[in-house]
Symmetry: C2
Subunit: 359 residues, 2 copies
């Protein structure tokens, strides 16, 4: 029964202590305004009654929630399964906690991000992987809620953080070219519609980087050498299997994420091939376990955690009024050569070289 006992409120404490609500409030937030004897008596009574100021009521008057929101276009149940997101969240959490903020994850509520946003009580938002044309973005901006976009397709217009995806992809492509590969397949991430897979999004930027550099070396990657799938190990397996089933036998595979690369690694091995002797493989992201695979994964490093940290730093600077309109911040990527890439297998060389470049 006591579960349904009415919550003890500030009025209860005031009454029992024989003082006004004001006094109780002061005892908690501004004890100097009270006689120290009175203050501690109030505190004692409050404690005895099990009084805990209602955080919601407090938020209402103070006009701040003490929490920052993390906005994701996909359901959290899928997002959290991605190790990339773990690092990113760790970055976010690190500086948020340091500044005394809690973390509230906002994801499509019954399919509607908009509904979810309306219900969320946060002082500001870090939006990950949403494009600027996402309708929800506009709602937030109109509502005047501070927001930083991460890995979006935006450059200016709005405060944002991303990494040099295109440059990273170029490094990956240049690397396999230098090793002599000319038959290259791409494993692309298939984000949900109107996520950053759109025009200027992450996927497009990486794809552009790959293609430009390959193209400059005279290598064209036709559409059927680009397999798309979700950025997971399973997605990587699937994508590679589709390529394989389609008869493609590339000597190098550029994966847009380490998760996919690891999936590809498994699929490749399942077909009895070895990496890097027969196929070279380059990932993207440099998640921690990229070092633990066999062979360790050559990949493009991006400062995932740093992205989260920087985003929250920017966000706090606007929430706390230090810098009302921060700009765009782009962090560097770099190639980490480990063991999953090597020279083209000899017997494939001439076949590959003979492959016609389709217009």
């Amino acid at each position: 029964m006591e579960h349904f006992a009415r919550r003890v409120t500030i009025a209860d404490v005031a009454e029992k202590a024989g003082v006004s609500k004001t006094a109780v409030s002061f005892a908690f937030n501004n004890p100097d305004r009270l006689n120290s004897t009175t203050a501690s008596r109030i505190l004692d009574i409050a404690n005895e009654l099990g009084y805990r100021p209602d955080p919601v009521a407090r938020m209402l008057t103070q006009r701040r929630t003490g929490a920052i929101g993390v906005l994701t276009p996909q359901e959290l149940s899928v997002i959290f399964a991605n190790p990339f997101f773990g690092s990113f969240s760790a970055g976010i959490a690190g500086v948020a906690e340091e500044a005394g903020y809690g973390l509230h994850f906002i994801s499509p509520l019954h399919g509607s991000l908009s509904r979810a946003i309306h219900r969320a009580t946060v002082d500001g938002v870090v939006a990950i992987g949403l494009t600027i044309d996402h309708p929800e973005i506009n709602e937030i901006r109109r509502a005047g809620l501070p927001m930083i976009m991460v890995d979006s397709d935006v450059v200016d217009e709005v405060a944002s953080v991303d990494v040099d995806d295109e440059g990273g992809a170029r490094l990956a492509a240049a690397h396999v070219i230098e090793l002599g590969h000319r038959d290259v397949a791409i494993l692309a991430i298939d984000g949900p519609r109107s996520t950053s897979s759109g025009e200027g999004g992450v996927v497009a930027r990486r794809l552009r980087g790959y293609r430009e550099t390959l193209g400059a070396a005279g290598i064209d990657v036709p559409a059927d050498e680009v397999a798309i799938g979700p950025s997971t190990i399973a997605g990587g397996i699937d994508a590679f299997e589709r390529l394989w089933a389609g008869g493609r036998r590339p000597t190098a595979v550029l994966a847009m994420s380490d998760a996919m690369a690891i999936g590809a690694l498994r699929a490749i091995r399942a077909h009895g091939l070895t990496v890097p002797a027969e196929i070279s493989l380059v990932g993207f992201d440099d998640i921690e376990l990229a070092q633990s695979t066999d062979p360790p994964l050559t990949t493009v490093h991006q400062p995932v955690r740093g992205k989260g940290e920087e985003a929250v730093r920017l966000l706090l600077s606007v929430i706390e009024g230090r810098d009302p309109r921060p700009g765009h911040r782009r962090l560097d990527t770099r190639l980490i050569v480990r063991g999953s890439t090597g020279p083209v297998p000899p017997r494939r060389q001439e076949v590959t070289a003979a492959r016609p470049k389709s217009a």
Copy 2:
């Protein structure tokens, strides 16, 4: 400047539409109470003004927040780095989202969990890895906030979910014994004080499982064969290195987490030894990447995601009043034999067998 424009409130909409606040409220929440023409006119004006009902004010009257809290004893920045937590969160998020709830992560605010709890606006809490004697637990219970404890040291007393850690540990130990190992080291998790590393906590339960089964086979694991460290890859490396530096040369290592096992794997390899030929290794948790290591990790599977799901299910049943006091729920663990375990290396057999059992 427009950033500081006062938020548009329900009163603004009411005035502009020439109706009462009540009407505006109805237009949003109970449109049937209004003439449909009026309702849509109000909605139009609200939209034009960019009005968005303040979620905090709404919470205050409705006495519900639409969010559930995830309570962790450690800082989120370290928690999120743990892949185990990713799966767990995914489980939590899955059923929470399904039911229309958001997720709020609560961690020690400037070192004080208590402060963090007081500020958090949630309808209920899933506490992971806290022991029942944790003072914060009592605060929550006194406040009448619904709570489910996961991986705690509690059995009844409070609603909780955990897995059969002891049974799992027994399976792991029995497995290496069966393979002939008699010189076994343990890599134990070092949680922060008064986390579930205490008496009846997860760490203690697993340790008990290991020791009992080993002991029954006449194998004693002295304290200096138990290396403790944080449940991370780095922690696993460190722990193993300390063992090694101390001159220990076990033929089998039982790690309390896959993360530590993976660290150990790297450390072992760094010393030029091979797994499982020279050292057998058993993990715990069965995180996804346990399949991708080289060799794939033999480990104790626990339904991490299922734990999160079950916890939220129980929590919702109390929040929504279906079952005011759910009991304790224990999920099964099982051994997954992969490639990291094998028979004792021959040349070690007699040395090992000769090892005296210290009382």
